[in-house]
């Protein structure tokens, strides 16, 4: 296929043309600073408010509870660090999971170096956080539980409502990193008992470089970026109006099309999973069989290494990703794949395909054909496979 087949929508998504279109006037025409008093800038204030309201409505929150940030990572950093600081009188204990994004894990490490204690809850073989272990980990000094809504690598959706109930029962704040889930799943913060939620625009066809943190009213977390009075004084700096407008549009589109879009993606995903598992031997699906993001499929192919597979797929114009060490820049493969109990050599041979509504069945067929070809080629090259065949 000449055309590029993009199957890495968990990494980022295409900014939709409708989104770009609504952003454009806010660069060179409506460039006013929303904080200014004159009429010219009032339009910017209004546009910002509208975007904020759209986002607030999407998660069942109030406008005043939504704070724009520079992205999902900043929102995670803010939620964890500011909560830790604000509630240290109560205690210095935080609970999270082994499979969080590095935006949460590395922030936890940062806090550990500053005297906080962090408990990392295990997940089962499907990547679901162990609730009994979480409940037992709660102490009188626990100030925050941070568990992701859905995992970015294996797509497993976490029991957010149950965790929310546990947190509420024990009067502990509950933060969820919903960067992958927002726009794909129906999220209502009140029903789920979520106190803080991080999300990012570029995962749902919005622009890169903007996200938000939802902070439930009454939570006394401090400002993260100090300066002016923007974002109710909690996140200073002139607002990125064009990006906020684009984010608002992206959310509006994602929410209004969610049902049919995710239905289509789920069907494509199921077709993909069925073909791969039935046609390529010594292959497993990583993550929960059904409780997974509509667009996520993650496989491990025994006896081969993921980066080689990615390069060969790239030669065939297929964009995908892997949890192999070579793609992570360290010697260890993905912490998520190790946490679900995969041995190192199987974790190295992983492939993540994340779909969008634009993918077609023809693209999936072509991709599966190429994966099959490539896995076979790499296995013929693999001393591990050679040993396996000899032992048989």
């Amino acid at each position: 296929m000449e055309k590029k087949i993009y199957l890495d929508n968990a990494a980022t998504t295409k900014t939709k043309s409708e989104v770009v279109e609504v952003m454009l006037p806010y660069f060179s025409e409506l460039y006013g600073n929303p904080s200014s008093v004159y009429e010219f800038a009032a339009q910017n204030k209004k546009a910002l408010d509208e975007a904020r309201l759209t986002i607030a409505n999407a998660i069942g929150a109030e406008s005043a509870e939504v704070y724009f940030t520079g992205g999902g990572t900043e929102a995670d950093n803010w939620a964890l660090i500011a909560t830790a600081e604000a509630y240290q009188q109560k205690g210095k204990h935080i609970i999270t999971s082994n499979i969080e994004h590095h935006a949460v894990l590395h922030t936890c490490e940062y806090l550990q170096k500053r005297g906080y204690e962090v408990t990392y809850i295990d997940v089962d073989e499907n990547g679901v956080v162990k609730l009994d272990q979480l409940e037992k980990a709660i102490r009188p000094t626990t100030i925050l539980i941070s568990i992701m809504f859905a995992n970015n690598e294996i797509g497993t959706i976490q029991p957010i409502k149950e965790i929310g109930e546990l947190a509420r029962k024990n009067k502990i704040l509950f933060h969820t990193d919903a960067v992958q889930a927002f726009g794909q799943l129906d999220i209502k913060v009140d029903e789920l008992g979520v106190d803080m939620l991080s999300a990012s625009a570029h995962k749902l066809n919005g622009p890169k470089g903007i996200g938000f943190l939802y902070i439930r009213k009454g939570i006394k977390i401090r400002s993260f970026i100090h300066g002016g009075a923007q974002e109710r004084g909690r996140r200073a700096g002139t607002e990125n109006v064009p990006f906020a407008v684009g984010f608002g549009k992206a959310v509006e589109l994602a929410i209004s099309t969610m049902k049919e879009r995710t239905k289509k993606e789920t069907e494509l995903r199921e077709y993909l999973i069925k073909r791969v598992l039935s046609e390529i031997p010594y292959t497993r699906l990583n993550g929960h069989r059904t409780k997974r993001l509509p667009n996520n499929a993650n496989f491990s192919f025994q006896f081969i290494e993921g980066e080689s597979l990615l390069i060969m797929l790239d030669m065939n114009n297929i964009c995908a990703s892997s949890g192999s060490a070579c793609t992570s820049g360290s010697l260890d493969p993905s912490h998520v794949l190790l946490s679900i109990g995969l041995p190192h050599e199987i974790a190295h041979g992983s492939l993540r395909l994340t779909l969008s509504e634009e993918n077609t069945i023809e693209e999936i067929d072509y991709t599966v054909d190429k994966i099959k070809e490539t896995v076979e080629k790499l296995r013929n090259m693999s001393p591990l496979y050679e040993d396996f065949v000899r032992r048989r």
């Binding site: 006896f303 081969i304 290494e305 980066e307 080689s308 390069i311 060969m312 030669m315 192999s324 060490a325 070579c326 820049g329 360290s330 010697l331 493969p333 190192h344 050599e345 190295h348 013929n380 090259m381 693999s382 001393p383 591990l384 496979y385 050679e386």
Partner: protein, 148 residues
Amino acid sequence: MYTKKVMDHFSNPRNMGEIENPSGVGTVGNAKCGDIMRMYLDIDENGIIQDVKFKTFGCGAAVATSSIATELVKGKTVEDALKVTNKAVMEALDGLPPVKVHCSLLAEEAIHAALWDYAEKKGIQIDGLEKPKSDIHEEEEERDKISY
């Protein structure tokens, strides 16, 4: 991220496969770190490497370094093959990204391991050949622990 030479050797690996009843075979690396190389040598009575084959589990650079290493030792005497260093492997590929330098070390080590096996089978000693490390990653892991 890779040079044209690396991509060429990765997509069209030379001398990939096995040799039945080889004069020497060596396997290095470990699956935990994501790369294993195996070299087969066919060495004639004059000590000349007549044929060489490889099998590799690993990234693009691991495949490319194994492939070029087979080309560098084929037709050479055992003594000359011993002089093929990881530097020579890197140069022949027009360079490797810094994080992939260990792949060239692995290729050098794989040749040495196969030569060691040959020497053991023949009951001879090859000057300058030391017993190969079973796993070059051990040092790397130690280094990693220190830097943290």
